[in-house]
């Protein structure tokens, strides 16, 4: 992808604040969603928001886009409120999870349309479109109708349409859903390139591996707040130290008495009743001894895995300790 073009044309990156969300409260009738959410994103930073379904990620995105007004607290994009300032909204580029494009239009025609609708003046549209096509590596496909492109290329056009007006903050919702590994890597590289050029990126995803490999910082949206945020490695070290994650898969669902025995060994249930999760450290019971103890209690262990914890481990721990339904 032509990152050089982007670097030449984008604003000079620095670490100034692009987005500031402070003590944000919002809810639907009878259902509070966001309860004092705080978030800051700086130029060139990739921030990934993780959270269970229904945590309020989509609601937060709509608040950032100015479609909802906060009950209290505020959202500032480049110092302005998106709900009140068109110029603040113009600094946003939204990449919805769906392919939010006109399928019967070519990639170029789509970008021309979205550029115009984002407020790019007629005289600058050609330049803006060429920029977006170049950055996303779509030059050779610009004349093809979107419906004729592969899923990966459609995803690229989806991103190109969000950056055609050169926003300062890009909101990406599950940008690699349904694409193959090559396309996924290409899209991740594209996001890195955009961030490297100075664009701030807020990514919402369920893909923990993607979050870990792509993000400068991640945050977990739980109970209406961004809980536990920071760089992925730092968060994992802080949460787990040198501990390992222990995952036991049983042949059958354990009975009530067996569940108590599992809990006594420091294991917690997961959504799948046959899979139990725990942590292991230097002084923990050896795996062989644990397996023997469980089999003595009448449980057959199909698999026991010990691994370095990742973001999904942290997510699991956070949701388990807070009793959050996933």
């Amino acid at each position: 992808m032509a990152s050089a073009t982007l670097r030449e044309t984008a604003a000079v990156p620095d670490d100034s604040l692009v987005l500031r969300v402070s003590d944000l409260h919002f809810g639907y009738p009878g259902r509070p969603v966001l309860r004092g959410l705080n978030l800051e994103i700086r130029n060139g930073e990739i921030f990934t928001l993780l959270g269970p379904n229904g945590a309020g990620k989509t609601t937060l995105v709509k608040l950032l886009c100015g479609r909802f007004r906060p009950a209290s607290g505020f959202v500032e994009l480049l110092g302005r409120t998106p709900g009140e300032s068109a110029s603040a909204r113009r600094a946003l580029g939204l990449v919805p999870q769906e392919i939010a494009l006109y399928p019967h239009l070519t990639a170029r025609e789509n970008l021309q349309t979205f550029a115009r609708l984002a407020g790019v003046t007629r005289s600058h549209i050609a330049e803006a479109v060429n920029f977006a096509l170049s950055v996303t590596g779509l030059d050779s496909r610009s004349g093809q109708q979107v419906r004729q492109l592969s899923g990966g290329y459609q995803r690229r056009v989806n991103i190109a349409a969000a950056i055609v007006h050169r926003p300062r903050l890009m909101l990406l919702d599950e940008p690699t859903v349904g694409v193959d590994i090559d396309a996924r890597q290409a899209i991740q590289q594209l996001v890195r390139t955009l961030a490297h050029s100075g664009m701030a990126v807020l990514l919402t995803t369920h893909d923990m591996d993607q979050a870990a490999s792509l993000s400068d910082r991640v945050g977990f949206l739980l109970e209406g707040r961004v809980d536990t945020q920071g760089a992925p490695d730092a968060l994992l070290t802080q949460a787990f130290g040198d501990r390992r994650e222990l995952r036991i898969t049983l042949e059958r669902e354990p009975a009530a008495a067996q569940q108590k025995a599992l809990a006594a060994h420091g294991l917690a249930a997961t959504a799948d009743a046959r899979i139990w999760w725990g942590e292991s450290h230097a002084g923990s019971e050896p795996a062989d001894a644990l397996t023997g103890a469980l089999e003595t209690a009448g449980m057959q262990v199909r698999e026991l895995r010990l691994r370095r914890p990742d973001l999904s481990s942290l997510f699991q721990r956070l949701t388990a300790t807070r009793g959050v339904r996933r």
Binding site: R89, R90, L94, Y102
Partner: protein, 401 residues
């Protein structure tokens, strides 16, 4: 920005051959079919199929059967074996449109027996019965004058309290020597005139050009407006809502496109009406254009207001089909309103179809001045603008949910 949405809609239409055919090819074809049917229904092209049972089989009845078979407006079939049950069977089976049973001598005494001729028509072809009955009257008057003469003589005898013996003797003698071959063309008691429109255009063709135009205008507008739902579901609207134009641009851009598409669509129908049936489009172009603009605006506004309120395409399709069919049926796009009961005719004024059809009739058939059309234009334009405003408000509200 509105033009950007217009361009998207236009390119989408151009690249969807099915939609293109639905929008611009199907309407003129349907119009031609309707025009052929209804122009023919009032002319000489129908050629109803009739079966005849001559149960009397005398000179007069045979002459009548021959006259019916020679009549170019009918396709008459008679054979000696035909009886009334067979005639009824054939009509019921759809093998004939109308059955004719000559069941009494035509010149039988005026006060005796039953009707001389029984005309049997299927309830589903109700209009065919009176048409054949009228045709029979005309044929008897022209081809069998002695039947009419005999009945007149008998009628005078009854009404004037009887003839004297001498008068009766002279009448009988005169009747025997009556020259029924003589070509007599009496001045008709009732004459009929079918008014022609400007440039000699056919009223039925004029009517159905407007009727079909409104039907397709509404369908095409609903189809185009439903793209709002696709865009909402695909996230395109989410993307556009952060732009400076917001939801208004999307709705107004689509509205503008639907109006232009509607004008082109109606234009094609009336172009065919002009070229094939002589509807005077060039002579009334400006009032026609104004009527078309207002009708297209009404259809676009209503379609957008309906579609923007729907959450799924399926819901929009169901509702739009329902509304278009109801509006078209009540508004006269399917059956001329003069054939409806008065209450339904009054109800028709609540539909854009009725206003548009009447306006087209006024423009193209009567050559009405603009002043006469102001009410129709105001109603259509007002409905369109109000519905479009409603659609913008609803879209704005939905953007915040």
């Amino acid at each position: 920005m509105i033009l950007a949405i217009l361009r998207v809609m236009w390119l989408g239409l151009l690249r969807d051959r099915g939609a293109l055919a639905m929008a611009f090819i199907l309407p003129p074809i349907i119009f031609v079919i309707f025009a052929a049917i209804f122009a023919g229904a009032s002319g000489d092209e129908m050629r109803l199929r009739i079966v005849i049972a001559d149960l009397v089989d005398d000179a007069s009845s045979q002459a009548l059967v021959t006259a019916l078979q020679r009549d170019e407006q009918l396709r008459a079939h008679a054979d000696a074996a035909m009886d009334e049950p067979e005639v009824r069977r054939r009509v019921r089976m759809g093998e004939a449109d109308v059955g004719v049973v000559i069941q009494e001598p035509l010149a039988a005494p005026l006060l005796e027996g039953s009707a001389r001729i029984l005309v049997i028509a299927d309830g589903g072809r109700a209009v065919a019965g009176p048409m054949v009955a009228g045709r029979l009257q005309a044929l008897i008057q022209r081809e069998l004058p002695e039947v009419g003469l005999t009945r007149t003589v008998q009628l005078v005898d009854i009404l004037l309290d009887g003839y004297t013996d001498e008068q009766r003797r002279q009448l009988t003698l005169a009747m025997e020597h009556a020259d029924t071959e003589q070509a007599v063309e009496p001045v008709p008691l009732v004459a009929q005139e079918s008014l022609q429109g400007q440039a000699g255009s056919d009223g039925a063709v004029n009517y159905y050009a407007g009727a079909v135009a409104m039907l397709f205008l509404l369908f095409a507008a609903m189809q185009g407006a439903a793209s709002l739902i696709d865009e909402r579901q695909s996230g395109v609207v989410d993307r556009l809502l952060i732009g400076p134009g917001g939801s208004s641009v999307v709705v107004l851009g689509k509205g503008l496109f639907l109006v232009i598409q509607g004008v082109l669509q109606i234009g094609l129908i009336f172009l065919v009406a002009w070229l094939a049936y002589g509807v005077d489009l060039p002579g009334n172009f400006l009032p026609w254009l104004m009527t078309t603009l207002m009708a297209a605006l009404a259809a676009a506004g209503l379609a957008l207001a309906l579609c923007v309120s729907c959450s799924t395409r399926q819901q929009a399709q169901t509702l739009s089909t329902f509304f278009v069919l109801i509006l078209s049926a009540v508004g006269g796009s399917m059956v001329p309103r003069f054939m409806m009961p008065p209450w339904l005719q009054d109800l028709g004024w609540f539909t854009p179809n009725a206003w548009a059809i009447e306006a087209y009739q006024a423009v193209l058939w009567r050559g009405a001045p603009a002043a006469e059309l102001l009410t129709a234009w105001a109603v259509l334009g007002g409905v369109g603008l109000a519905a479009l405003g409603g659609a913008v408000l609803i879209a704005h509200r939905l953007a915040r949910t």
